[in-house]
């Protein structure tokens, strides 16, 4: 009984960590530009599929992973340079539609050049699972939790300790005032896309040994990450992490105690409830203007 609960909780937290990373990517770009980047899921796909393709070409895994993540970072920067920046003063809805277009484009490219098959990445550790008090823990889950914790900490330090991180925060709070500080807000936004793409790709790589990866993996993971960000209240990093973990746990308990058929419906039921009763999310700021 208890070991079952422990098992579900553990897989929920694992899934939640992935959703949290995707949600952080959404939050970062939303803060810097108020754009919801629906191509965020494709960064996960580039991370996972990129690693698979590089390994097929004979690159050892410990080079393939950073290379694929870097590739995704470049894709993020290109997305900003080629699709978002040229639209200049377009309104936010237009920019969001551009990101939807970009996601379809990236998925199409992957389908054409990398194929439609599902691929598995090998576990990061040789031992696949360990038995802990009757529950089976995948070692890959420990990798996921560890790497997610490192990424979240690094991001936290970036925002609290570095001038560039604070410049990004300042740009998200008040773009005009930020340019009066000498901050190049266009470059800051490009950096936000790059960082989001790197975080997304990292999530895509670490989850690939558990969920498999393919050209269309980004649709569901991206949507669920967006829902996690919305639960937390778009724009709050702590909220994104909280939202991710809540979503992961809700999915795992539903799959375990009710039926795994309903697993994928859970996020959409939750988002409806949030939109009805807490439209600003759990930690979202009320739109208060001080004059």
């Amino acid at each position: 009984m208890f070991s079952e609960f422990f098992q579900f909780t553990f897989s929920g937290v694992t899934l939640g960590a992935i959703y949290a990373l995707v949600a952080l990517g959404f939050t970062l770009i939303y803060n810097a530009s108020h754009v919801i980047n629906f191509a965020q899921g494709e960064f996960l796909m580039i991370g996972g599929m990129g690693t698979v393709v590089l390994m097929d070409a004979g690159v050892p895994i410990y080079f393939a992973i950073p290379l694929a993540i870097a590739m995704s970072g470049v894709a993020g920067i290109l997305l900003h340079r080629l699709a978002i920046a040229p639209a200049k003063n377009a309104d936010v809805v237009t920019l969001i539609i551009i990101t939807i277009g970009a996601s379809i484009f990236l998925r199409g490219l992957a389908q054409v050049f990398w194929g439609k098959e599902y691929h598995a990445l090998p576990n990061f550790s040789a031992t696949e699972s360990i038995n802990l008090g009757g529950a089976i823990l995948l070692t890959q889950s420990l990798w996921i939790l560890g790497i997610a914790a490192v990424l979240v900490t690094a991001l936290g330090l970036f925002f609290t300790r570095t001038a560039l991180g604070k410049a990004l925060l300042a740009t998200s709070m008040n773009k005009d005032a930020a340019s009066l500080m000498g901050i190049k807000t266009g470059a800051i936004l490009m950096m936000a896309f790059g960082i989001s793409a790197v975080i997304g790709a990292a999530a895509g790589v670490i989850v690939a040994p558990i969920t498999l990866t393919s050209y269309d993996i980004g649709i569901m993971l991206g949507l669920k990450g967006f829902i996690a960000a919305a639960i937390g209240g778009l724009g709050s990093s702590t909220g994104a992490i909280l939202g991710g973990l809540l979503l992961g746990l809700a999915e795992a308990y539903t799959a375990g105690y009710i039926s795994s058929d309903y697993k994928d419906a859970v996020p959409f039921v939750i988002i409806l409830a949030i939109l009805f009763f807490l439209p600003n999310g759990l930690l979202g700021s009320r739109a208060v203007e001080r004059v």
């Binding site: 604070k166 300042a170 340019s179 500080m181 000498g182």
Partner: protein
């Protein structure tokens, strides 16, 4: 308008360090208000020629000329909606021009973006303070020095700023949004000074503040003036602004209608009638 142009100023060279030598730049070497007309003497630090700009199809500025010489304090006064803030945004690069030129220290700035102008020392304190509400007071000040964040003296400058504004030191860990209006104005000015301005643009520094706080803010501006910083201040509070200015411009619906020494404008009957309550 019978006000005449007079520029009581001695051109200065490098001003970027001025904000930090407490009293180091002595006021004595500047001719005071009685100096004769010196219009055109020396090159202006900032030279605006034929400035036109607007919002959509509505033109806000109809081709104005403004010149500011090194070390001067110049006031731009006028009613709400005259285009004062628009002119400052033109200088700092937030508002694009439809015609005219902005020349700073001999360089044409028309194609330079706002961030590049900051690197050249044009620092604006925006209307309504615009502090970064969710960041700490100290982070706000440090962001002011963003354009020169690799300089070694930034930490010393921060300490100097805390000495100038002790209240900011007391509240340095608080979010800037929790400060009172007057404290936010001081923070916005401190943030601008951290950039070591060669030209300080102040947009309505007294807006929405209590009379006692306004006195304090203008006291600080006078102090900065004494330290030799070139200042362009835009104000609806015409009497206060003209009282501290070497020179002033009166802006009316997008045109400059009067210019002269601060004192002359203060005593000008038509300016009095329009902006100083008779």
């Amino acid at each position: 308008m019978n006000a005449t142009l007079s520029t009581p100023t001695t051109p200065r060279g490098e001003q970027r360090a001025a904000a930090f030598n407490d009293g180091g730049a002595s006021p004595g070497d500047r001719a005071d208000g009685s100096a004769g007309p010196m219009a055109g003497s020396g090159t202006p630090l900032l030279d605006l020629k034929g400035i036109r700009t607007g919002y959509g199809r509505i033109e806000a500025l109809h081709g104005l000329d403004v010149a500011i010489h090194p070390g001067e304090t110049v006031a731009l006064v006028g009613a709400n909606g005259a285009g004062k803030s628009t002119l400052l945004k033109v200088i700092s690069g937030l508002q694009p021009l439809t015609a005219g030129t902005v020349t700073f220290d001999g360089e044409d700035l028309n194609r330079r973006k706002a961030a590049d102008r900051v690197h050249r020392g044009i620092i604006q304190v925006p209307e309504g303070r615009q502090v970064f509400a969710g960041l700490s007071v100290e982070d706000n000040l440090m962001l002011g020095a963003f354009s020169r964040r690799r300089d070694k003296d930034v930490a010393d400058n921060l300490e100097a700023m805390y000495q100038r504004f002790p209240i900011l030191k007391e509240k340095r860990r608080l979010h800037a949004g929790n400060l009172s209006g007057g404290q936010q104005q001081m923070l916005a000015m401190g943030r601008a000074l951290m950039a070591k301005p060669r030209l300080l643009l102040l947009d309505e520094p007294s807006m929405g503040l209590a009379p006692l706080i306004i006195e304090e803010i203008f006291g600080i501006i006078t102090e900065l003036k004494r330290e030799g910083i070139t200042i362009f201040v835009v104000e609806q509070n015409a009497s206060e602004a003209l009282a501290i200015a070497d020179r002033g411009y009166v802006l009316e619906t997008g045109d400059i209608v009067a210019t002269g020494s601060g004192e002359t404008l203060l005593n000008d009957d038509s300016v009095k009638a329009a902006y100083l309550g008779g």
